[in-house]
Symmetry: C2
Subunit: 312 residues, 2 copies
C-alpha cells in the first residue's frame, strides 16, 4: 500500500493532463540577490501561472481526473484565496460548473476574479464554510475538492518540481512555502522518486507556525489564531499533507514578518516579479538555509496582491 | 553604402557577442489582457534583463566591439537613466573602467546602481552633461558611447527582435517605446532583413512626441519641454535613429499619461511584471493599433522604478 497521498506515477499523469493547457513558468535569476544570499538561487515564478498562482496545477489535475458522469455535476470548494480562482479556471477548461463557497468578508478582488473566470460564488459566514460547501454538494451533486488536502491536488502541485528539475538541473535543495502543505507535499513526493538527493525545505511564517511545531512535536498540531501578512499560509496541515511534511521535508524554516517584507521588496526591486507576501516567504527562509544548500530552487508561489495595500 | 546605422550582419554579430553573458528574456502572455486588447499580445520582458532594462544589449555590444587598446582606457557616457547602469555592467564584464556623467539631481537610486555595478560617477549640472563627458574623454582617453545614437548601440538593441522572432513566431507586428529611438531603430533594422513582413510600430507619450511630430513633418524636430511620467522617453531622436524611424517604422502611436498609467497597472496586476512607466507605453499604444495587427509583440523595455513613488 502506498503510504503517502501520491507517487511519481500520479505526478507524471498530472503532468500529462496539464501539458496541453499550462506552459512551464519561467525560472529567473538575480546576481544581486545571489550575492546577498551567499548562494545560487533559481526562482520558480508561479505568479506568471494561469490565475496568478501554483493552485491551478492541483485544481486542474483534480478536475480533469473526474469521471465524465461526476464532472457533469460540477465541482465545489471553499476558499477565499488562490484556490477559488484556480478551481473556477479549471472547471471552465473542462466546461463544467464551479461552486465556490467564500466568506462574506472575502476581498472584493478575489470574489471578482472567481466570477470573471466563470465560477458561481456562494457566500457564508467564515465559520460555516465547510458546512455550506457540504450543503452545496448535496444540493448539486458536485464533487468536493479540498484546496490542499486531497491526493489529486497534491499530485498536481508536484508537477512544479518536475518542471524545475528540467529548467535548473543540479540543485542541492528546493524551498517552498507551507500553509496547508499541498504545494510542499507535492514537491517532496516528486523529489522522493525523481530526485532523491534533493533536500526539500518548507518555509513558514513564525506567526502561523503549525508545521514547524508539528514537526518538532512529532504530531499534527492545530493552527490557532494565525497572525501573518502571508494570508495564503494561515491554514493548518491536513491528514494527507502532514505525513509528507513529517517524513520527507528536511526542515521547516520559520521567518518573521519583517523578514517576509524584506524578501518581498527584494523580489519586486531586483527580480521585478509582482509577488504576494505568501509568495515571498520561501526567499525569506532561503536566506537562512545551511551553507551546504548552495544551488537552491526557490518557489515564488503566487502574485495576487492588492497594489493599493502594499507593505512598502 | 549602407544607408542606415546597422544591418542584419551587425545585429547577428551583436547576438554572438552577447550570447555568453545575456540569456534570452522570457516572453509572457495574459489571456485577460488579450481579451481587453482584442488581439494576441506577446510581451517581451526586458525588466528581467541584466540591469533591469534592454539597455545592456547596446551597451555590451558597443563595449565588446572596442579594440583592446581603446577598451583599456575605458568608456564614458552621460545618462541619468538605464543606460548609465547598463554601461557600468558592460564595462565590468570586460574588466575596464566606466565613467558615467550624471546630473546632480539624478535619483539617488540610479546613482547607487551605477556604483554598485562598479561605475565611477561624475556629477555636473544638467545643462553641462555633454561638455562634462567630453572633458572626461579628453582627460582619460575613454571611448564615448552615446546612450542611443550610436551604430553599435543600435545593433545591440536589435538583438531583442531576433530573440522575439524565435520565441513568438508568426507575429504580424511589434511595438516598442520610442525616446531617443535606439531600441525601435534596432528592432526595425533587424525586422527589415529578418522579417520583412513584420510591421514595426513605435509608441510615444503625447507629452514627449518629437518622433510623431518629426514623422508627420518629414524632418527631425527637437523635443522641447517634455512632460511625461515616462522618464526614459523624454529624449529626442538622433542623427542615426531618425532615418530609421522615418523610413522603417510604420507609425508612431501616441498615448496620454492616463493611458500609460492604465497600461502600467494592467501589467503589474495581470502580467505580474514590475514595469516602469516607460516600459508600459508600448502596451498603452498596442491597445489602439489597427485591427489587422492581430498577433503583436509588445516590448516591455524596463522595470527600474521606485516602489515608494508608484502612480497608483
Amino acid at each position: 500500500m502506498q503510504p503517502y497521498a501520491a507517487g511519481l506515477a500520479d505526478i507524471l499523469l498530472a503532468r500529462e493532463r496539464l501539458a496541453p493547457t499550462l506552459s512551464p513558468t519561467p525560472v529567473l535569476r538575480s546576481r544581486g540577490i545571489d550575492r546577498l544570499a551567499g548562494r545560487e538561487l533559481h526562482f520558480k515564478c508561479e505568479p506568471f501561472q494561469r490565475g496568478g498562482s501554483f493552485k491551478i496545477r492541483g485544481a486542474l489535475n483534480a478536475v480533469l481526473g473526474l469521471s465524465p458522469d461526476q464532472a457533469s455535476r460540477g465541482v465545489v470548494t471553499h476558499s477565499s484565496g488562490n484556490f477559488a480562482a484556480a478551481l473556477a479556471i479549471a472547471a471552465g477548461i473542462r466546461g463544467i460548473p464551479a461552486f465556490v463557497v467564500m466568506p462574506e468578508d472575502a476581498p472584493a478582488v478575489k470574489v471578482a476574479a472567481v466570477r470573471e473566470y466563470g465560477g458561481e460564488v456562494i457566500f457564508c459566514h467564515r465559520s460555516q464554510r465547510a458546512a455550506t460547501a457540504e450543503a452545496v454538494r448535496q444540493r448539486t451533486g458536485a464533487a468536493f475538492l479540498h484546496p490542499y488536502d486531497q491526493p489529486a491536488v497534491i499530485a498536481g502541485q508536484g508537477t512544479l518540481l518536475l518542471e524545475l528539475l528540467e529548467q535548473a538541473p543540479a540543485l542541492d535543495a528546493v524551498i517552498a512555502p507551507v500553509g496547508g502543505g499541498g504545494l510542499v507535499s507535492g514537491i517532496a513526493l516528486a523529489a522522493r522518486e525523481a530526485a532523491p538527493q534533493l533536500r526539500v525545505y518548507a518555509a513558514e511564517p513564525l506567526g502561523a507556525d503549525d508545521a514547524a511545531r508539528s514537526k518538532a512535536a512529532g504530531q499534527r498540531l492545530p493552527q490557532e489564531d494565525p497572525r501573518t501578512l502571508a494570508d495564503g499560509l494561515r491554514t493548518a496541515l491536513g491528514e494527507h499533507t502532514w505525513p509528507v511534511v513529517r517524513d520527507l521535508v528536511s526542515e521547516v524554516v520559520t521567518v518573521s514578518e519583517e523578514e517576509i517584507v524584506t524578501a518581498m521588496r527584494m523580489i519586486w526591486e531586483r527580480l521585478k516579479v509582482v509577488t504576494e507576501p505568501s509568495g515571498a516567504v520561501a526567499l525569506a527562509a532561503a536566506m537562512k538555509l545551511p551553507p551546504q544548500a548552495r544551488r537552491v530552487g526557490v518557489v515564488l508561489s503566487g502574485g495576487n496582491v492588492e497594489l493599493a495595500s502594499l507593505p512598502f
